[in-house]
């Protein structure tokens, strides 16, 4: 207990902000160009409940193939839809197919990763297993913000373009696609590149691997001034709750 108490004395200034580092746990990852295999997963409204089920222990003992979403940890992703009741892999599920086992780019439908936030359950592990790019019609609101933090690029394209990409992917098994954020282009050997647009702020953040905290830091004095003024204007917000 004594040791625990002394910790609290060592409270220091803002160095913690700079100490954030670039580790996968906390985000702030660079993304410029990514080359890899793509997998089509053109369902709409795929929820985080489907991507990372709460009861991932249900997958205990399932035979885990290696590499990408087929890696031993990756095998828990989509557990409720990728295995049969007896634990055997469903052949019709994309990541169980040889051609897509090591995919690092997912081509998805509308409102992908809607639902719970599951930052630690969805965005981070999938990034750690290697999924760096999602190309889709639209994305769940929370997923979009999370993705940036983990150096994961989300590209929004119209349905017709997505179908063209899927067509290319299905006829080019084993051929790598290149997603270039600097030039905002998706390059697929044998066809014209597809341009895309990104929010300039998000693009800058990914290209430079900026963490939110680095973006906030210059504004900390202003934040503190706002807070002090607010404490005068809305004192009730800061009341301790004992009626004072």
């Amino acid at each position: 207990m004594g040791a625990k108490r002394s910790r609290r004395r060592r409270v220091a200034g803002w160095k913690g902000v700079r100490n954030m580092g670039q580790n996968i746990e906390r985000g702030g990852h660079r993304f410029a160009v990514h080359e890899g295999l793509a997998a089509p997963f053109m369902f709409d409204n795929v929820s985080t409940d489907v991507i990372a089920p709460a009861l991932t222990n249900l997958t205990d003992g399932l035979d885990a193939p290696r590499g990408g979403l087929g890696s031993s940890r990756g095998a828990t992703a989509f557990a409720n839809v990728r295995y049969n009741a007896d634990g055997s892999p469903r052949r019709d599920f994309v990541f169980n197919q040889e051609a897509y086992r090591t995919a690092s780019i997912m081509v998805v439908g509308k409102n992908y990763a809607t639902g719970s936030s599951r930052v630690t359950g969805v965005t981070r592990p999938l990034a750690a297993w290697g999924v760096r790019v999602y190309i889709g019609e639209s994305f769940g609101p929370i997923f979009l913000t999370n993705a940036v933090q983990y150096g994961v690029l989300t590209v929004e394209l119209p349905r017709e373009t997505l179908h063209e990409i899927v067509e290319w992917v299905e006829s080019h098994h084993g051929v790598r696609m290149k997603v270039d954020l600097e030039r905002q282009l998706i390059e697929m050997p044998g066809r014209d590149p597809i341009p895309f647009e990104t929010d300039p702020r998000v693009r800058n953040k990914l290209l430079n691997g900026l963490h939110d905290l680095e973006e906030i830091e210059p504004h900390l004095p202003a934040a503190q001034a706002t807070r002090e003024r607010d404490k005068q204007e809305r004192p009730w917000v800061y009341q301790p709750g004992d009626g004072r």
């Binding site: 207990m1 625990k4 108490r5 910790r7 609290r8 060592r10 409270v11 220091a12 200034g13 160095k15 913690g16 902000v17 369902f43 709409d44 409204n45 929820s47 409940d49 489907v50 089920p53 709460a54 009861l55 249900l58 409720n80 839809v81 009741a85 509308k110 409102n111 809607t114 639902g115 719970s116 936030s117 930052v119 639209s138 769940g140 609101p141 929370i142 913000t145 999370n146 933090q149 702020r201 939110d212 905290l213 973006e215 504004h219 900390l220 202003a222 934040a223 706002t226 807070r227 607010d230 204007e233 809305r234 004192p235 009730w236 917000v237 009341q239 301790p240 709750g241 009626g243 004072r244």
Partner: protein, 495 residues
Amino acid sequence: MNRRDFIRTSVGAGLLVSAYPRSLFVRLRAQGGRGTLFDKIWDAHVVANLGGETDLLQVDRCIGGSPTQVMRLVEEGVELRNPEIFYSVPDHTVSTSPARYDDPALGWGWQPYEELADEMRELGFTKAFGQFDPRYGIMHVVGPETGLSQPGMVLCAGDSHTCTHGAMGLISWGGENSENILRTGTVIRRRPRTMRVNIVGTLGPGVCAKDVILRTIAQLGTDSGTGYAVEYAGPVVRALSQEARFSVCNLAVEMASPTGMVSPDDTTYEYLAGREFAPSARYWDQALAFWRTLPTDDDAVFDREETIDMTGVEPQVTWGINPEHAIGIGERIPDPDRAPANKRATYRQAIEYSRLTPGEPILGTPIDEVFIGSCVESRISDLRAAAAIVEGRRVASTITSAWVVPGSNAVKAQAEAEGLDRIFADAGFEWRESGCSKCYGSNGDYVEPGHRCISNSNRNYIGRQGRDTNTILASTITVAASAIAGSIADVRTFL
């Protein structure tokens, strides 16, 4: 003094509004915003513009800063700003079994909790509510119930159903990293567009707030709110009780809007008055005068307006695998072949997963399990309404599990004081401890594989309540009626 009386002492606050010279209020007006509740609150919280539509905002409340997280940051030597804006409740991870008070494996997992809580208090984090605390419960029940969520605030948390708090007349959203807020007290956010959903018409018998929002999502689509902050308005919403408004805002994220709101009014202020963290008598009039400036102006401009007419709408139930798959209790299960082309694939997947037969009536579909709880409807008024349905009746013998999980320890205590626990127990329900429970099985409470569960919660995605489980979403009273019938029931025949 009871709540209503307390408000009355301040109702002369109309005068106070005009006499209120606070600069915050002046700022709101001076910026010539577009007059919506959302714009007024957002503008008042901007610390800096970060380019384009992205702002740095001050955060007034954050559900986060768990003892483990706070202690880790303290260890790293980080200065933690504004500990008073945080509260934390481990609602997802604590079991709702009565054994949780004795079995460490079912509890918070930090032993001894009391010691950590003491350390937290010394650091200024006075609001960490473990399962032993009378204020423990689901975070979205606890916030409003203790008065921590107040009109005009910006409130963030990690959990996606943080939109629930918007019913108090504040901006809230989930998916936020509380570590950044612990370090800076601010958050980076891109300003969403605004949408108003006007709920008009009249609610028929047995039709309540949950039916309103399920109908809204069925009409507009589960992705309709992408990029928007939604305000629910109109005569139907105005007439709803404060607790019913939480039910509406809770499902905002199910239409892909992280923020749902209702303009505050006397219903809101009366609900708030006298609660532990509500403004004390010393500041009440000042706070009330400020809150009265917040509701959306008559001439406000929204980026999008939608209208949902509730006249003639029946109690709603879902048949599929996302919340927009809601139909009236008297309707038939849709045929994927007749669905709009862009929805056909999802409809097929839904029919395959739910093992329902297209063209059959949804009414009478057998169910295996029943769940009443969750941040949608687990407050005292919801439990009273459910108890009124089941009183003197018995849960059907074919139901393998029927749970009632109060939203908080306070709700549980109140319900027991009113004898509701006896009514549920006599009817054959299991009366549990408070928490998230079977809505999302991360605390070990889940639906058995292969079972169909009718639930008053908010998500029916594949595997949400457990592997191979099929969730039917409905209002609390429809769930209660279905428990008695043993199949999806029309609550109107139970009234």
